[in-house]
């Protein structure tokens, strides 16, 4: 097996593990994970309590981000926002409130059932969003589609972060911006971590 074959195999296993783990957070929000999630996490990251009161309980309970991308996104009415790895939709919902009815929110998620969940959560608030099943390394949108890309704890899951950066750049309009929160490592991860999908997905 070549190095490329091994990489592809590992990526396939990782994809399955990511789908499994985040589906579990969505399906069993009362369970305990190695990371904080749900209301405990959003309160830790300083989400506006007013947003949390307005948002559907299911969207809050299934939150699995690592920070608050809205803190620096400076979204304004009428903008088009792409939420990369939109999950159960809490960040997309908040984005929809900030860009208003003239704006547009687009989600992209690896898991089509999460897309449906995010859309249902947003519909419960009276809003709507597009959501596309897709990979962040190959964002299923045309060039120059969005004013802003937000993302929360997702890019670190990719083996091809350079490709993800290029894709975010491609789908942004000239003058567009990103506001993402993510996990970074100060040291190169050991091969045992890289080769373990459960640890990588964590």
């Amino acid at each position: 097996m070549t190095g490329a074959d091994q990489q592809a195999q590992l990526e396939g296993v990782l994809k399955d593990e990511i789908l499994r783990m985040y589906q579990e957070v969505a399906d069993n929000p009362d369970a305990e994970f190695h990371f904080f999630h749900g209301r405990e996490a959003v309160e830790m990251f300083g989400y506006d309590p007013e947003w949390l009161e307005r948002a559907p309980a299911g969207a809050v309970a299934s939150f699995a981000g690592v920070g608050n991308p809205h803190e620096r996104a400076e979204l304004t009415p009428g903008e088009t926002v792409l939420d990369l790895g939109s999950g159960a939709g809490l960040d997309a919902i908040i984005a929809s409130w900030r860009v208003g009815p003239e704006g547009r929110v687009i989600g992209v998620d690896l898991n089509p059932s999460m897309c449906r969940k995010a859309q249902a959560n947003l519909a419960a608030t009276g809003g709507s969003m597009e959501c596309h099943e897709g990979r962040m390394e190959e964002i299923p949108l045309p060039d120059a589609s969005a004013d802003v890309v937000i993302s929360n704890g997702v890019v670190n899951l990719s083996f091809q972060k350079r490709r993800v950066a290029e894709e975010m750049f491609r789908v942004l309009k000239p003058g567009g911006r990103i506001s993402i929160t993510d996990i970074v490592s100060g040291r190169e991860l050991s091969q045992s971590i890289v080769n373990d999908p459960k640890l990588w997905a964590a």
Binding site: A165, G176, R177, S179, I183
Partner: protein, 50 residues
Amino acid sequence: MFELLEDAGFTRVRTAVVPGFRFRKESTRNAAEAYGVKAVMITATKPAET
């Protein structure tokens, strides 16, 4: 990440540590600390002229 964004063409790349971020489980926290793992906020801009 900073370099990858600049290489992609982004400018004004800014990062800041997410205050208060931590893992729930102690074993994960310890491993994260050993590797200097932290959560960061990143903003960057695509130039108006590309």
